[in-house]
């Protein structure tokens, strides 16, 4: 098995509010990302999915406490000095954020900002960078790129801004793209466009991608592997088919059954997960999901389970994963497309 592009080992991120104990948003997270693959990180609010990515790139406030390691192509990102981290950010690892409105500086043109990321990372030629910026805009499907490259962010629509963000991210042909909820703020028809562009660009520069999202539909569309997070930990991880067709974790199953599905049979009732996601300020001592789990027993209250390997490529963190009832694949009607 070849060397992973990114190896995260026991990454933990905590925040300390005044006078309160350390609140851990991410707990001993470990995962690998291989070159060229797409790993989806799925979770709801409080799961720690975004915080872990921001921690790796040094984008959290200085009060965050980070332990563990994130080894990217031989170098540990955690604890790296600012100066060195900056050579990675934007060049070898690029991040795409959720909110296209705040990701760009309103007082500089889009072309300027894309060119800046090119110039900062080596190219010395301003005009060349500007031309490249226009080319990139064309690649991501922004109409009239020659004109648009000199426009300001407020002159772009949300979908176009997101495309511009993709352009900026791939400008230096990164090895790894981290997309944090890239489509959540967009309309459905624009979402489809942007995901298409993102997948295309990923192939174009041959990058790996960590896709952070709560939208299982998007995951089914693009992911190779999926890891499901809850309460700061991974609760299930496998190739995409296993997670959707053969889930072996109560939380994953709960997520799948609580979704109203466009393709499913018209069942009369959804099966929600009772209760609410836990706050990082008050995590249960045992399994984080136990208060909401229909299969919970006493041992679940006492201690969280380990992430166990069920068979090749499929891991689950649950005391009772072996005793879970059979999972029938939901009836799949044809969807008009």
């Amino acid at each position: 098995m070849s060397e992973p592009l990114l190896r995260v080992t026991d990454l933990s991120v905590g925040f300390r509010a005044k006078g309160k104990p350390l609140a851990k948003a991410v707990r001993e997270l470990s995962f690998d990302v291989q070159r060229g693959e797409t790993l989806a990180v799925v979770g709801e609010s409080g799961s720690g999915k975004s915080v872990s990515a921001l921690a790796m790139l040094g984008l959290l406030p200085g009060t965050a406490e980070i332990t563990g390691s994130a080894i990217f192509d031989g170098a540990d990102l955690v604890g790296m000095k600012s100066k060195e981290l900056r050579t990675y950010r934007g060049r070898r690892i690029a991040m795409i954020f959720q909110d296209p409105m705040t990701a760009f500086h309103p007082a500089f043109t889009i072309g300027n900002q894309i060119a800046e990321t090119i110039l900062v990372h080596g190219l010395d030629d301003k005009e060349g960078a500007h031309r490249q910026a226009a080319d990139l805009l064309e690649m991501v499907g922004v109409p009239e790129p020659g004109i648009r490259v000199d426009q300001y962010p407020h002159e772009f629509s949300g979908g176009m801004r997101q495309r511009a963000m993709v352009a900026m991210a791939i400008a230096n042909k990164p090895d790894l793209l981290i997309a944090d909820e890239p489509t959540t703020a967009l309309d459905v028809t624009i979402q489809a466009q942007v995901m298409e562009v993102l997948a295309e660009m990923q192939r174009e520069v041959d990058a790996a991608m960590i896709l952070i999202t709560h939208d299982l539909g998007v995951v089914a569309n693009v992911a190779d592997r999926v890891q499901v997070m809850y309460g700061g930990r991974i609760v299930e991880r496998s190739v995409v088919d296993n997670v959707f067709y053969r889930p072996r974790n109560p939380y994953t199953r709960g997520l799948l059954t609580s979704l109203p599905r466009l393709d499913g049979a018209r069942t009369d009732r959804l099966e929600p997960i009772k209760g609410s996601p836990p706050s990082i300020l008050s995590m249960p001592a045992g399994c984080a999901f136990e208060p909401r789990c229909p299969h919970a027993t006493d041992v679940c209250k006492e201690r969280p389970a380990e992430l166990e390997s069920l068979w090749l490529e499929h891991e689950s963190r649950c005391h009772h994963h072996a005793e879970l009832p059979d999972w029938g694949t939901p009836v799949t009607d044809e969807v008009n497309a």
């Binding site: 080992t9 609010s45 980070i66 031989g74």
Partner: protein, 321 residues
């Protein structure tokens, strides 16, 4: 490429993100659900807690209380009156008899300073109240009703903003005898606009909030919405403004009195004391320093309290530490 696959012990050292980076996350990334382990806390109770933990604000509050007590009670301990002229004792430095010394007419400076402080505080408080009431009301009406009401009130606000405060006060001070109430009213007339603008902006912001729409859809009248829904959310900011205006008022008043206008002798304010002392800066600097320091202390105390109020009433996320 370095070989890092050999098992190495997990790195347990704690790292912090490199300093100087702009915080890229908002607190929404961290969940905020509260478990009901504590008793219900109204916004007021929470605000009080936050105020209590703001050290400078508490310092300011204590300072202000001490000053007020001193101004009103301390003269009782002295046998002198503020207008006791005693030419034989004039121009003396501080002594056991006259704690702050005497002025050119032999009047005890301690008692005069205390009395001056009294006036300064009362004028500033009255000014703050008037400015807050007028500014708050007009700002609320302008913000809530919009349209022509807003246009008119905004014109009035802009008009007042163009008036040079000191110049007007000078002219009016020359023409009229001013007692403390008229002074307060006059100064308030010149500083109320700040409060009005703050309240107006907040009103504009809040009146589109969904909880206001919900009240409307339940049938609430405009006055109910303004009084029950909007004002409680605006009151905090108005209170902060009022405290800061009070501070401004003292400085304006002192300036006026220094220029010889406003309240006339033998009554005294801190500004008058400074004015009277300006001739003896070389011989007895204490005469000017003492009232000057008192003004500084009062304004500092008020500003600290204002800071504390602002933090208490405008909750920034607790997680920002």
């Amino acid at each position: 490429m370095a070989d890092t696959t050999a098992e190495k012990p997990v790195d347990r050292t704690v790292h912090h993100p490199p300093g100087g980076e702009i915080a890229a996350i908002t607190p929404s990334v961290l969940d905020d659900v509260v478990v009901f382990s504590e008793a219900p806390q109204s916004f007021g109770q929470q605000a009080w807690k936050r105020f209590r933990s703001h050290k400078l604000a508490i310092l300011g509050a204590i300072l202000l209380v001490l000053l007020v007590l001193a101004f009103y009670l301390a003269p009782l301990f002295s046998e002198y009156e503020y207008d006791d002229i005693n030419v034989l004792d004039r121009a003396q430095g501080p002594s056991w008899d006259h704690w702050f010394g005497t002025d050119d007419l032999g009047r005890d400076l301690f008692v005069r300073a205390m009395r001056g402080g009294r006036y300064s505080i009362s004028i500033s408080v009255i000014t703050g109240l008037i400015a807050a009431a007028v500014g708050g009301l007009l700002g609320a009406l302008a913000g809530y009703f919009g349209g022509i009401v807003d246009t008119l009130i905004s014109y009035v606000i802009n008009l007042f903003l163009t008036i040079p405060a000191i110049a007007v006060l000078l002219v009016l001070g020359v023409k009229f005898q001013l007692d403390q109430y008229k002074m307060a009213a006059l100064i308030a007339a010149l500083v109320w606009t700040r409060g009005a603008r703050v309240v107006r902006a907040l009103m504009l912001q809040f009146k589109e909030r969904e909880f206001v729409l919900a009240a409307k859809s339940a049938g609430a009248t405009s006055s109910r919405i303004i009084i029950k829904h909007l004002m409680p959310n605006v009151a905090g900011a108005l209170l902060v403004e009022a405290t800061l205006l009070a501070g401004t008022a003292i400085i304006l008043e002192s300036t006026l009195s220094f220029l010889g206008l406003g309240i006339q002798p033998p009554e005294t304010t801190l500004g008058i004391l400074i004015d009277e002392a300006k001739g003896s800066i070389d011989t007895s600097p204490a005469r000017i320093l003492i009232p000057g320091m008192l003004v500084v202390l009062i304004v500092l105390a008020i500003n600290f309290i204002g800071d504390g109020l602002r933090d208490a009433l405008d909750p920034q996320q607790e997680l920002e530490s």
